[in-house]
Symmetry: C2
Subunit: 402 residues, 2 copies
């Protein structure tokens, strides 16, 4: 953990990926992040994959480094407690992350009534409040019909919930930005981040929407080809596949050199009356003529031969690996300083990630485990709401908290 955000206290009432990753990233940068967990946990508390002891590996990954107060959110007293936590007084409090519905006991209107300058970051499905998940938004915006091969009639979903992850990081960015503005006298606000708008803006931001509107048609499916450049997957000797991309002229030259293709490519350039050494799109336009040359060159080479030459020349490439193969890559996981050890609820000892960012000039503390539900109930009630031991005891007796 780093301490960039130390002093900030964020309250989180969220399930699944977008909200919890927002809280996770804030916690990994040193903020105190307090989850409001309902009795027995929320809808994601036992999400697969599970550890042998029944704890969720999903939940404990997403909720590392946070505290947990356990409240019966089905009861009015519990809901009121949640509202008070989200709007706790103090310059560095009143910072709330949630995926609870727009209208309801955690609405902005209700929170603002308790604390006028509360900052509420609300991740959502559709902008108008209709429910959605990463997978349904993805279908909605056209990505499954862009993914995969032209010879397949089926749409292809992402297995990786990319929109959730983008939303979580963007939510963390939004919260810290709003806190800065509040400190400068701008007051609070609610920041609504719908998956639908994250997806719509992303596709527009890199020109895809404009392209479709101006050409009047969709880009055809192109398998593993990188659009507008030279990049695709190839089989190497032995049958494994690699992904290779040459974006810059320098990377292209390096690729030709490594594969001994300079002469053959020169001949093709002469035949077609083009130069592949300039704009990357020329290689894309003529890729059907380029690919056979590369396929033949790769088919006779192994990774052992290719890797050193590629690395020396700065070619962008990778073998296709499964996650279990990647898991054995020390540079990625077990030997990666980003990863460490923590006593997770599952009781399993595996490499646990800290922040994806590495700060030069700051010291990286080890990762911190996820909490057990309600591990910090009493502490949070005392510290954020100033409740006495007796008041806290009454809440436990009434089973409003656990």
């Amino acid at each position: 953990m780093y301490d960039l955000l130390k002093g900030l206290t964020i309250v989180e009432a969220a399930a699944f990926i977008a909200g919890p990753t927002c809280g996770l990233y804030l916690a990994q940068f040193g903020a105190e992040v307090i989850r409001i967990d309902t009795l027995g946990g929320g809808p994601d508390f036992r999400r697969w994959p599970l550890a042998p002891n029944g704890e969720s590996l999903y939940w404990e990954g997403l909720n590392k480094a946070k505290k947990s107060i356990c409240i019966d959110l089905a009861r009015p007293e519990g809901r009121e407690l949640a509202q008070r936590l989200a709007t706790a007084p103090g310059d560095e409090r009143g910072l709330f992350v949630t995926n609870f519905p727009l209208e309801g006991f955690l609405s902005y209107e209700r929170l603002k009534a308790k604390r006028d300058d509360v900052i509420c970051v609300r991740v959502m499905g559709w902008a108008d409040g209709r429910p959605a998940l990463d997978y349904t938004i993805n279908a909605s915006v056209g990505v499954p019909w862009m993914t995969g091969f032209a010879d397949d009639e089926r749409p292809v979903n992402h297995t990786l919930p990319a929109w959730d992850f983008i939303t979580g990081a963007y939510a963390a960015f939004s919260l810290v930005s709003a806190e800065r503005a509040r400190r400068n006298g701008a007051g609070g606000c609610e920041i609504r981040i719908p998956l639908s708008d994250i997806a719509a803006t992303a596709l527009a931001n890199f020109g895809h929407l404009a392209e479709v509107l101006t050409t009047g048609r969709d880009r055809p499916r192109q398998g593993n080809d990188v659009y507008g450049a030279f990049g695709r997957d190839f089989a190497i000797r032995g049958g494994r596949r690699i992904m290779v991309v040459a974006i810059t002229a320098r990377q292209w030259r390096a690729l030709l050199q490594t594969l001994d293709l300079e002469t053959a490519i020169g001949a093709l350039e002469g035949e077609l009356g083009v130069s592949f050494a300039g704009h990357e799109a020329v290689r894309f336009e003529h890729r059907e003529k380029l690919y056979p040359l590369f396929e033949a060159a790769f088919a006779t080479r192994t990774t052992a031969e290719l890797a050193p030459a590629f690395e020396a020349a700065g070619v962008c490439w990778s073998e296709y690996r499964t996650l279990s193969e990647a898991a054995r890559d020390e540079r990625l996981f077990a030997g990666n300083p980003v990863f460490g050890r923590a006593d997770q609820p599952s009781g399993i000892d595996y490499p646990v990630p800290g922040s994806a960012a590495t700060l030069i000039g700051k010291s990286r503390g080890g990762p911190t485990a996820a909490p057990k539900l309600g591990a910090h109930t009493d502490q949070v009630l005392a510290e954020l709401l100033g409740l006495s031991g007796a008041e806290i005891g009454k809440l436990h007796d009434a089973r409003i908290v656990a």
Copy 2:
């Protein structure tokens, strides 16, 4: 544009998606973001898709709302100017975003020598400095073998560069967090964000790494099925496909009700001795028995029949659409308050996105266009470096700037 970050000046020297989206998000929240563009533009300046007038729809999407100073980065004087801009004095300056190499004229060491508390956010390929792109990192970490159908022998790339987009948002979060820490007296730092670590931590954060390490094997490819829940694509009457997901018990009940499947599902529960009304994973485990019932129910229904019932019941669903079909959805693009109009370099009038976040209680200004290369050269030299008109003239004469 919102004004949460007004007052901050960020200098950006970056190409492609991760660095530029970081700058874009900062600009959309009101920071002044100044791109250092080399003469004629960088490697992404003419990236496809192009507009009829040759401008890149990709570049102008990613670089909206920024300023541009054009410097000959091939020359020592130009490089020194870039260093001075990145380290310009002032509390709200000395904030730099780049994807330039670790070692080189924009290394942290060189920048720190000019301004000790400079904050430098550096997006990277591999953590050790080796080059990589979204598509090669994706292959490296196992996602193409998780994506797609079990009956396909080919790995399936993402067309959407998800790692790039996550990295850009995370970079923006890191920058504002570090700026907060610096304002609190913590000094500066370099923040290195490799795509490789963004990917490795993401896969670990939602339990995938732990699962693979503890089970010793990869999750099998599962097409469009959502892991651990009830969710998949179905064909409806007329042949279109929809994606439907039921995560909570309430969503499950709503689905059964809408499709008149309560009796059939009840019978199946009796036959199998399970209840599908509880933990979502039970539906996942028995999905091969559930799917035929749903397939039959969907095959006789149209969107016109399903949509109102689904919406009323809060079911998570979507039709699979292409992007050109989605482009006609007013709620997503043209009628979406997130989008507006701007005079882009392409000269084409299309819906241009502002921030994906909507701030309640703040007013959203319209989106701002991308700059022409060097549109702000003189202004930036005067404002950030305090150069006089004569000094600026000399730089132009010597073609160090344009």
